[in-house]
């Protein structure tokens, strides 16, 4: 060791400071968010439906991008060399989340998105196919913790994705409806909340301000009771999270539940969340998703149609991205406001 160090010492002396600077650039993280193109995932490989249909000639894929919360200086610099990547300042409400919490949020969004896709697809398919059994009892309501602000009291005691059960209100009432919580609270007081995680029920004391200021974000979801539906489905493990695959997941599940193949042999991709009423919701990272679809040579791409409730529109962003990458959007970029519009479009293809 000594001999080699002695021999290399002149080089080490010159390189030691650049080496430390390089390592700093490679490990120090800054408060930005980078979006980069990812890939496409065939929904069938993630959600397996136990039902025999005629051969599906094409494919339906969701599009994922890679989002980097708090990249290193090095990533920030090399990001500039790509025409596909985009960098924004990390939103304030995201900054305090650890990587693990970000993963939990992403997994939660995907899990609830798949259930929404199953609900919508089974309901639609049951109208056309008598084999599909999907009754209202096949779903149940849950209220899940989907976000926590940095100033939430007892921050570490509440887990992301845990189920809210009830709150013991001012006069010891058991409040289960999240819309009624503040009606049973007095400013400045703290109350016992009952939550449930995978292991057990637990209690946490939270203040009125936590709820009024939305320091604890609770969201209502409909989940699927798998025992009550026919045919059964299996969700395979995948390291891709987020809710933006909802539209394409719904489309693929629907295609696996009806006899006619709506893909017509096409490589179909797209993006957009799915709501329980079948409407399509907005997503982020449109430019990178268009780039991903372009790189993966998909035949058509579904995008949420213009929704006047928002100020900036996915479809407009997608058109701009198409222009930038030299893609002809005619017949390739298809705006849809509901899952039914996507199905109608595919059924209309000759």
């Amino acid at each position: 060791m000594k001999e080699l160090t002695k021999k290399l010492w002149p080089i080490i002396r010159i390189l030691i400071i650049p080496y430390i600077i390089l390592m700093f650039l490679l490990v120090y993280r800054i408060d930005y968010l980078i979006y980069a193109p990812g890939g496409i995932t065939e929904v069938e490989s993630v959600i397996d439906i136990d039902y025999e249909v005629e051969e599906i000639k094409g494919s339906i894929s969701s599009t994922y991008i890679i989002s980097f919360k708090r990249p290193t200086f090095f990533q920030f610099v090399i990001n500039d060399f790509s025409k596909y990547n985009e960098v924004i300042i990390l939103p304030e409400y995201y900054r305090h989340y650890t990587d693990q919490e970000n993963r939990e949020i992403s997994y939660l969004q995907k899990m609830t998105s798949v259930d929404a896709a199953v609900i919508v697809a089974y309901q639609l398919a049951s109208e056309d196919n008598d084999d599909i059994i999907f009754e209202e009892s096949a779903t149940y309501h849950v209220v899940l913790v989907t976000g926590k602000a940095e100033d939430l009291s007892n921050y570490d005691s509440v887990g992301l994705g845990d189920e809210f059960i009830s709150m013991i209100g001012e006069s010891d009432e058991l409040v289960t409806d999240i819309n009624d919580l503040t009606d049973f609270m007095i400013e400045g007081n703290s109350y016992t909340f009952n939550f449930k995680n995978e292991e057990a029920l637990y209690q946490v004391d939270l203040t009125t301000e936590d709820i009024e200021d939305r320091a604890l974000i609770l969201t209502e979801y409909l989940l699927v009771n798998e025992d009550e539906i026919n045919p059964k489905f299996t969700e395979n493990d995948s390291n891709i999270g987020g809710p933006s695959g909802g539209l394409l997941q719904t489309l693929s599940i629907y295609n696996n539940l009806i006899q006619e193949d709506i893909t017509h042999g096409l490589k179909i991709a797209g993006t957009g969340t799915i709501r329980y009423d079948g409407s399509v919701g907005y997503i982020g990272g449109v430019k990178q998703k268009i780039a991903t679809a372009y790189i993966n040579k998909v035949d058509l791409f579904f995008i949420p149609a213009i929704d006047e409730r928002y100020s900036s529109h996915n479809y407009i962003e997608a058109l701009a991205a198409c222009e930038e990458f030299g893609i002809d959007p005619e017949g390739w970029l298809i705006p849809v406001a509901t899952i039914q519009e996507a199905i109608d479009y595919l059924e209309g293809i000759e």
Partner: protein, 122 residues
Amino acid sequence: MKAYFKSWKVLNKELGMTDLLDALFASLFYSLLILTPTILIFGQIISMYYYLLNLWVVLIMLVSVGISMLQLLMWKKTILIKKKDISVNINQLFSKLLITYSVVILVVGLLFIFVFIPMMQI
């Protein structure tokens, strides 16, 4: 193959196990100093340019062979500093080792390109 292992035995006898291992660990230590930022650089480039993954795997294979070469060179240099008059043909000995390293790197790289990456893209 027999001759190859015999050469290692002769080298071990001439230099001693302690010095041989000291030279190996010295070369591994300095190789790790190069390898650490290399891994970080590639990891971060891949994350930003994921759609060029196959290209990065090929580059990683080339860089891995380069670092292996450097490690073996440093190992050889340290051995020669420790004992100049070695009867074994050390160049030949290390060239064979480099070929073995390169074949392993090539096989692992090809496995990634043709098996693991397509499997990951579900």
